[in-house]
Every structure is written in C-alpha cells, then in structure tokens.
C-alpha cells in the first residue's frame, strides 16, 4: 500500500519540471526551427505572390546569385557590418577606459553615452536623416555660418550613403559596448594592476598587456550582439535611407523584404533569408563550439 501511494507522487515530481518546460519547448521548436525549415522549403519552391510548397530545385538560388542587387546588398552588409562592429568596439573600449579614470560626474556621462541605446533604430534613423540631409542639416548649418562651399552630402551620394548608416549605427550602439567594457574593467582584480605598478610597468603597458586581454570575454559578448544587430539592420536602413539613393544602401534584410513582400517573389526572398541564416550560422556555430569545448576542458 505504501508503495502504491508514493509511486504517483514521485512520478509527478519527475514529470512536473518537464511539463512546465514543455510549452516553451514546443513553441521554440515550432516557431523557430519549424519556421526555419518552412523557409528552407520555400526557398526551393516556385512561390511567387503567395507561398506554394512545390519543388523547383535550386532555381531561386540561381536567380539570387545572378541578381546585381543581391550582390550590392551583400557587399553593403560586409562593409556596414565590418565598420560598425570594429568602430563600436574601439570607441566603446576607449570611452570605457576614459570613464574608468575616476573622473567627476562619471554617472551622468555614462548615462549620456548609454542613452542612445534606449532609442529605437527607427528614431535614430529618422533623426540622422534630418541631420544629414544636405538641405536641412549639417551642410546647411555650416553654409549658413559662412562656409558657402562646404559640402557634406553623403546621405544622397550613391557611393557614400552606406557610411551614413555606419555613423548612425555607431552613434546608437557604441555606448552599449562602453557599458559592457566598463563593467569588465571594474571586474579586473586591482591587485594584479597594483603588482604590475610595483614592478614598474607604465599605465599604457598595463592596459595593453593585462587589462585589455582580460576583457576578452566582454569583447566576445559584444561581438555576438553587434554582429546580429548588423545582420538584422533593417529598421535603421528603412528609416535613414529607405535603401536609397536607388538601392545603394540595400542590405540582405531589406532585399529579402522587398522581394518577398512587395514584388511577389517569395521564393527568391526565402533564398535570400536562407543566405542570411547561413551568415549568422557561420559566426555563431564556431563561437558556440569554442565555448562548449572550453567548458568541457574545465570539467
């Protein structure tokens, strides 16, 4: 009798955590991996205006790779992503180092730098669109100050427009990197630095040899976050340049949106988003692999 009464309770005890986690698990499987699979399927179909689930082979990928606009978008992502990540990391690190010098009003300055992160990219994009518009913003301001020949028309220049996206993106996200780095700096053991000082090392040397290498995990976290911000940079582009002039600032995300939703070529759009998924995977998978391996080594 005793056995019988305790058996269900025990099985419930075993079962309960799984039951609680199950809905989240199911939702994740369906809405992340399920839709990923669905999208992969669509990219091999002949879908146009609405999705159809037939098999068309790799024709959508062939069309994608033959498309000039796709290559502009891919190149823009490399350019924007590379510059955005590198500048954000460097700027964030320097801001953090300067803020770490025990200056007055540190809290206030930190808040000011971090604040852009609280804005949506749409707001950032719209504001910078006005600031950079040659007829409204910086160029006009400087010209009205008397410098008649001053020209700053990157926003409307096909060759330079992508760099305005970098400016706005960096403005928004470098404060966040600064916050991360600052936390990292504060976490480094003071005793090591004191010991180095006793040994006669100069401050720049200490930063170069001890502190910055110690921030490696911070850089990794920042890199992962910045990378995915860069790849999904859709709202910033839409608000700032609308992909223009022409399609000069198109990125894969806006490309995918245009073809899937406004041009009735869902198959081609799916192929483009598969390429984006591959790009993310190419960065995330080696990272996860190295992280997981490190943990195994520790145990």
């Amino acid at each position: 009798m005793k056995k019988k009464s305790s058996a269900p309770r025990q099985s419930l005890g075993n079962f309960l955590p799984k039951l609680v986690v199950a809905p989240t698990f199911v939702v994740a499987v369906i809405f992340i991996y399920g839709f990923m699979f669905l999208n992969a399927w669509l990219s091999f179909s002949s879908s146009r205006l609405l999705p159809t689930y037939d098999w068309a082979g790799t024709i959508q990928y062939e069309k994608l790779f033959a498309n000039d606009r796709w290559w502009v978008a891919a190149e823009n992502l490399m350019l924007f992503g590379g510059l955005f990540i590198v500048i954000c990391l460097l700027l964030g690190l320097f801001l953090a180092i300067f803020l770490d010098q025990k200056i007055r009003a540190e809290g206030a300055i930190r808040t000011i730098y971090l604040y852009p992160m609280a804005l949506s990219f749409i707001v950032t994009g719209t504001a910078w669109k006005w600031i950079l518009n040659p007829e409204l913003g910086v160029q006009r301001l400087v010209r009205e100050m008397g410098f008649e020949s001053f020209t700053f028309d990157w926003l409307v220049n096909t060759e330079m427009a992508i760099y305005t996206v970098v400016i706005a993106g960096v403005w928004q996200s470098s404060g966040f990197v600064m916050a991360l780095c600052l936390a990292g700096l504060r976490g480094i053991d003071d005793n090591i630095i004191k010991a180095a000082k006793v040994d006669g090392a100069s401050m720049p040397l200490i930063y170069r040899k001890i502190i910055i290498p110690g921030l490696r995990p911070v850089f990794f976290s920042a890199l992962i976050v910045l990378t995915h911000i860069a790849i999904k940079s859709f709202d910033l582009i839409v608000a700032l340049t609308g992909g223009g002039p022409g399609f000069a600032t198109d990125v894969p995300a806006t490309f995918m949106y245009t073809y899937s939703f406004t041009r009735g070529q869902i198959g081609l759009g799916s192929a483009a988003s598969m390429m984006m998924l591959m790009a993310v995977a190419a960065i995330i998978v080696p990272y996860l692999y190295s992280e997981l391996r490190e943990k195994k080594d520790e145990h």
């Binding site: 146009r48 205006l49 609405l50 999705p51 024709i59 069309k63 033959a66 498309n67 000039d68 606009r69 669109k129 518009n133 040659p134 007829e135 409204l136 160029q139 028309d153 926003l155 409307v156 096909t158 340049t241 609308g242 223009g244 002039p245 022409g246 399609f247 000069a248 245009t258 073809y259 939703f261 406004t262 041009r263 009735g264 070529q265």
Partner: protein, 417 residues
C-alpha cells in the same frame, strides 16, 4: 468534440474568426494623404447610408507597398478583408491564387459592360468575370507648373524636351529649383516613363513596357530616353533623395520649384492648399506627350467571404463605387476622372476636363497606354526589375545609358520566370 471546442474558444479568444466581425465591411486602402483621405470619407458615408459598418483598414505609404504586405499576411492566414485596393495586372495574379469573389451578379444587373470603357473593363475581369470595381482613371503623364516661378525666370512652359531644358536652365539661373522631385524608386520610374513616352512615342512605349520586347528595351531610342532622363537630375535639388511626392508637390505650390512630373493625384494637394488651376498652377502634359495618355486605374478587389451579410455588403460596396454620385464626388476630391462613361464633367476643373477629353481621344487613336511605374503594364516582379535599373541609373553617375539599357534587358528577363 472537446478538442474542437477548445480550439474554437482559443481562436475566439485570439480574435481569429471572421464571424466575430460580422456585418462589418473591412476595406483595405492606402489613401492616407490629405486629398485622398477626404475621398475615402465620402465612400464611407455612402456605404453607411446603406446600413453597413465601414471598418477602415488604412495602411500608409503612397505606392501601396506596405498595404500589399499587410494584405498578403491577412489572406495567407485565411482572414482577408472584404475589399482591398489592388490594381492592374496584380488583379490577375490574385485571381490565380483563387481568393477573389465573383461580382458577375451585380455587374450584369447594373450593366457594367456598357458603363465602362473596354480598356478599363478588361483590367477588372479575371477569367471573364468581374472581380474588381474601378474607382477612377488617373493620368500619369502630367507636368505641374508654377507660373509665378516661370514668370520670375522669364521662361516659357515647355511642350518638347528641347524646350524643357531651355526653360529649366533659365529657372536654375534665376536661383530656383527647376524640377521638384522625390527620389524614391517609384517616383524615379514615374518621371522616366513620361520621358520615354515623350521621347519615343506610344508605339515604342508599348513595345518596351507592355510587351517587354528586349530589342526595344536595348535600342538607341531607349538610350536616348535614358540620357534625357538622367539630365533632369541636374535640375533637382540636393534634398530630393527619399523625399515624399507630396512634399515635392508642396515645393511647386510654395513657389520653391518650377515643375513636377507626377500623376494627377498631385492636384489634390493643390486643391487642398486652396490653389486654382490655370491661375495659381498649370497642368500640362509632360513634354512631347500631349497626344498620349498613361493611365493608372485604382480599383477595389473583392475577396471571397463566407458570411452572407458580408457578401451582401460587398455587392453594395461595389455598386456604390460605380454609382454616379460617388464617382463624381470621389474624383472631384482625388483629382482623377471618373472611370464610368457618359458622366457630366460640369463640376470638374479644367485639368480634369482636359484629362477626360484626352482619355476618350487617345483611346480612339490607340495612344492610351498603361503606366509602367504604377503597376498597370506588368507584374510586380517585372515592374520591380525595371525600377531597380532605372533608379540605380538615375542615382549613379558612373553608369552609362548604354550599360543601363543592357541591364534593363537582363533584369526584365530575370524577373519573368
């Protein structure tokens, strides 16, 4: 039983069933700018007078791109609105998907075949049956002129492209912007198609943009048109990339710019600003196109609905849209002309009267052509391909007209299959 009840209650809770919104006629449209919104309000009033509830489903964005995106998600999820603003060959694309309602009953009862010009009726039919109702006919190849600016610059309103550049030079020399332009791909394409029509004529236009003939797309004539088109850029201001069309119109209204190439929906902006045609502004066909007419017909497509009440509402909506009072009041507000034939044009202004006269005239002369830039001549994929090439060429100084013509052929071919 239990499971189906559970699903029912879940879907009810999420508001997914169409039954929850019965007797409401939901109409998706993208008329959100000043003059346009006024026109929609009229339709709403008339439908409500017939005892139906109008549920407004407005999605902003001049070209209707965002509206179409929203529409697709609604149709895919099995919950389409009663009616949506779709036009041109896209109606055929939607017809292929098998989601459109059949309006034959109303059409026969009211004799639509006699009310509408043949060109218009053909666009509204899928598989020989009416699935859509036309609201208006827009003329796209207009040029809007501020006579005050021309007077100050000592220039004459141009009727050919040669005269255009003479006038534009004078305005530029007088320190004003000659052409108010909004640098969005659809506006670039709107200007481009007027240039092609003016430079090469209706026959060539049809070859290039309706038949998509590769030989026409990459011909000396097309290269000529591309060169003329790119030259216009010198007469626009630096702030034009990304500008909305109505802001460009405002520049002409305020006398900051001399001309704008835009369809007659721009007239709504002039009217809303209290301007009088012929006095405060001049409407004239784009240079070289006075004998041609590029049309853009707005229409409402009806979707298949289960609910009987809603279906009745749909039919009432369709007959309201084609009714004389609505066609009159709507087009007076919108700046376009009625799609319905044999209507009195007394209340319309001179621009609309000219437009209506030219519409009938060009239909007879076979110089009435569908607008490429506004999705009347091709599917959206081909239109997009042309947009890309045109807008890239216009915005870049490093692509030659010859290269652009070659790209045009390639891009159109790629979009076809």
């Amino acid at each position: 039983m239990k499971i189906s009840k559970l699903f029912l209650s879940i879907s009810l809770a999420l508001g997914l069933t169409a039954g929850a919104q019965a007797a409401e006629i939901e109409v998706l449209h993208y008329w959100t700018s000043g003059g346009e919104a006024k026109s929609v309000a009229e339709l709403k009033k008339m439908l409500e007078a017939k005892g139906h509830d109008w549920k407004d489903f407005a999605v902003a964005g001049g070209g209707g791109e965002s509206a179409m995106t929203v529409l697709k998600t609604r149709v895919v999820s099995g919950n389409p609105p009663a009616a949506a603003q779709i036009k041109g060959p896209s109606i055929q694309e939607w017809g292929d998907e098998g989601v459109l309602a059949n309006l034959s009953a109303v059409a026969q009862a009211e004799g639509w075949d006699d009310l509408l010009p043949g060109v218009v009726a053909d666009v509204m039919k899928y598989d020989g049956k009416y699935v859509a109702v036309p609201v208006n006919v827009h003329r796209v190849n207009w040029m809007w002129v501020n006579p005050e600016v021309f007077k100050k610059a000592g220039a004459n309103v141009p009727t050919t492209w040669k005269e255009f550049f003479v006038a534009a030079d004078k305005i530029k020399a007088a320190g004003m912007t000659a052409v108010a332009h909004g640098g969005q791909p659809w506006q670039d394409a709107t200007m481009f198609e007027s240039v092609v029509l003016g430079v090469a004529g209706a026959e060539f236009y049809k070859q290039a943009f309706v038949e998509l003939d590769p030989e026409a797309l990459n011909s000396p004539t097309m290269i000529d048109a591309l060169k003329t088109f790119h030259k216009i850029k010198n007469y626009t201001d630096a702030g034009s990339p990304g500008r909305d069309w109505n802001l460009a119109t405002a520049m002409v209204i305020n006398g900051e710019a001399g001309m704008q190439f835009m369809g007659d929906w721009a007239k709504g902006e002039f009217t809303a600003a209290g301007k009088v045609p012929g006095k405060d502004y001049i409407c004239t066909a784009a240079p070289g196109t006075s004998g041609d007419f590029t049309f853009n017909i707005d229409s409402f497509v009806m979707f298949n609905l289960e609910d009987k009440e809603q279906r009745k509402g749909q039919n009432d909506l369709a007959s309201t849209i084609l009714s004389v009072p609505f066609q009159e009041v709507f087009n007076l507000n919108k700046g376009s002309i009625p799609a319905r034939l044999n209507m009195s044009m007394d209340k319309f202004d001179d621009c609309a009267k000219l437009s209506a006269k030219d519409f009938v005239k060009t239909a007879k002369a076979n110089t009435l052509v569908p607008s490429m830039a506004h999705g009347m001549s091709t599917f959206s994929s081909t239109q997009g391909a042309i947009y890309d090439t045109v807008t890239e060429f216009y915005n870049s100084d490093s692509i030659s007209a010859e290269e652009a013509a070659e790209k045009l052929v390639k891009a159109v071919a790629a979009a076809k299959y």
